[in-house]
Symmetry: C2
Subunit: 400 residues, 2 copies
């Protein structure tokens, strides 16, 4: 083959049909091909030095108390790398020795039991891919939707493959009493954060998880053990879990009274609104990005629901006047990120793009107006309104 | 709750029903719960200091040429962490700048084209989870099946989520000529490793991949671009891919003549045997492990096929006399690892355990004898015979 064929090939209008950018020369310098052997084999790989995606770490006084956000606009596919899974800590990440950590099951059970990690790994296991989303994700959208980009507005959600023991098996081992209606899951962080979960969830798809994306759970995700309650608000998926106490009524923890509840316009509050409603966001093009030019772009986004599978995602490229059904990446898994995509040709005019998810229960993601009408303007939690991005004539994208 | 309830609870026979290890005290020291705030938020997470799973790096003279192996026995679920995905390099890992790297499509096409990474990311994308397995995986089983454990015998296989552009789209952009029957994919490593692939695969499910498990492809997996040909032997999934040349016949590369072919007993050779046959292995209990005691154990393993989905995995716990159907973790994806599991009570007697996969094409994984009868004893590639582990009376597990 010829030594420097690129300039010639560009005359043949590569990408013409799809991107319409045929007349532009490629914006790359000539690549210097390697002239010697590359790097050697290694025991544990790292990403390229050219890759810098990172969680958004806020400027806070106490970096043990707060949250980092997943850079969803820089992630492809559906799996979130464990290194980029969002964090939310109430007292920092405890250093727990897996050889010493145990899980106690007690309260309204016949045979209280303590499980070591080795015990748990020996028991029947399951593997499932699920999102976890903080109830406070998109909280800024209630008051100021114009301020955000994807990471700030939606980055408190991530999606990984979890492996562990069904909690049902542990409750059966311990002999659940019929008076048991809720359980309290408590973490080993110094604040001993705990939450109340209906016993039906414990007998359903709740898991005690020890692995994530194939390897051991990461410290900031609860190493060595976390409770996973698929589709429930993030805070209920108690990390560093050390005890499950079966009780006859909820515990009214701080994080289910003063926090993670929604004060409605009539002065009452939504409490134990654990199941997260269907939601979606276009990750590309999205706030802060800039389109390279007119012509072909693939609109990409993520949709998820705490009620099961995503059934449909509609996308509008005219500010909500008309909607087109996006392609959904299979397999669509229940309570997991679903990647949606729509081929689109941009004509260079200012335009507003938005997405609307529908889940298998028939629930339709509401507009901001519909959501505010139903819930009032007091809450900072459980926001799942439709997100709109504006593309300016120069290709820049902003939140509106 | 009581301060030190563990000793008391053990009297209540935790795990008795499932593990039969009720009388043994838990082998852990008392856990010291944290007394102060834990570690702060971080931009890019790392695994726990207690976790040490790593790829098996061989002792070789030139660490740029060779392979590392995925520690499959230490991995849970189905996804392989990118850091632990096996490597196979012919000239080390090149350092490629994604701002300069390009992909050339040429040969028997109407409009040869060069694509930058930015071009490719703009085009229609797909996300799919697939295994990649080196044709040389389990090669040692041909001659000496007694020597291996899971990492040595099966660690040249991994399974991750890949995102990229269907190659079909690039071939259509370039205007594939009807004389084009094969394509040559060449990497940017210094040895310019290349392979010949039938054009039907290029128009089918082949992809040019730029992301893995949500983040950019790792350097040792081909950063910034690799060819993915799902179900084909690993070597054909050309890493650091820089050109696709459409041709009318295969290129007879070194790696498809002297290597990666099977010399049969009659002196002829299997060549371009690209599709990998169905295979399975029990990862736990497996060689080198030691069972903690009699009673309940979950037998766990992985099955995969280059022909599509795994349809069934049978497990024998009596050396192959009788077989029981294992549970398969859903979703079962085509050309992807499927996790299988079987609850099992060990009575403490010596026993041999083995697994047999059947894929959706009806192909049944052969015994070592059947495979050797069909292929003779000359090959070092494409071994997919049934693997047998022996558990001794003391719980130790070895390869047989």
């Amino acid at each position: 083959m010829k030594k420097n064929p690129r300039r010639r090939f560009l005359q043949f209008a590569p990408l013409a049909a799809l991107t319409g950018c045929a007349t532009k020369p490629a914006a790359t310098e000539e690549e210097q091909l390697p002239s010697q052997l590359g790097k050697p084999l290694s025991a544990y790989g790292e990403r390229s030095k050219y890759e810098t995606a990172k969680r958004l770490v806020p400027e806070v006084k106490r970096p043990q108390i707060g949250a980092t956000r997943t850079p969803l606009a820089e992630i492809d596919g559906t799996i979130t790398p464990a290194s980029l899974h969002f964090e939310r800590h109430h007292a920092g990440v405890p250093d727990l020795d897996p050889a010493k950590h145990t899980l106690l099951i007690h309260g309204l059970v016949e045979r209280p039991a303590v499980f070591t990690i080795a015990d748990l790994k020996r028991l029947p296991s399951e593997t499932r891919t699920h999102f976890v989303e903080c109830a406070g994700n998109s909280g800024n959208e209630w008051k100021s939707p114009g301020a955000g980009d994807v990471v700030r507005g939606f980055g408190l959600a991530s999606n990984t493959e979890w492996t562990g023991v069904p909690l049902r098996i542990l409750l059966e081992e311990a002999g659940l009493k019929k008076e048991g209606k809720w359980f309290l899951a408590e973490g080993a962080d110094v604040c001993k954060m705990y939450r109340s979960i209906p016993i039906e969830k414990g007998l359903g798809d709740a898991m005690i998880v020890y692995a994530q994306n194939g390897e051991a759970l990461r410290p900031e995700q609860g190493y060595p053990l976390r409770l996973l309650v698929p589709g429930y608000e993030g805070n209920a998926n108690v990390k560093w879990v050390r005890q499950i106490k079966v009780v006859d009524q909820p515990g009214q923890a701080k994080d289910e009274t003063s926090k993670y509840t929604d004060l409605l316009a009539d002065g009452t509050a939504r409490q134990f609104s654990l199941v997260l409603d269907a939601k979606s966001v276009i990750t590309s093009p999205s706030g802060g990005q800039k389109l390279a030019g007119q012509g072909f772009h693939e609109i990409r986004g993520l949709a998820w629901s705490g009620r099961g599978r995503i059934d449909r995602v509609d996308v509008s490229t005219d500010g909500g006047k008309t909607w087109t059904r996006a392609a959904l990446q299979e397999p669509r898994l229940p309570m997991a990120f679903t990647r949606f995509r729509l081929p689109w040709a941009w004509d260079g005019q200012p335009v507003e793009i938005l997405s609307r998810a529908v889940d298998e229960s028939g629930y339709v993601q509401p507009s901001r107006e519909e959501l505010t009408e139903a819930r009032g303007g007091n809450s900072q939690y459980h926001y799942n309104g439709i997100k709109q991005w504006k593309i300016e004539a120069d290709g820049s994208v902003k939140s509106v």
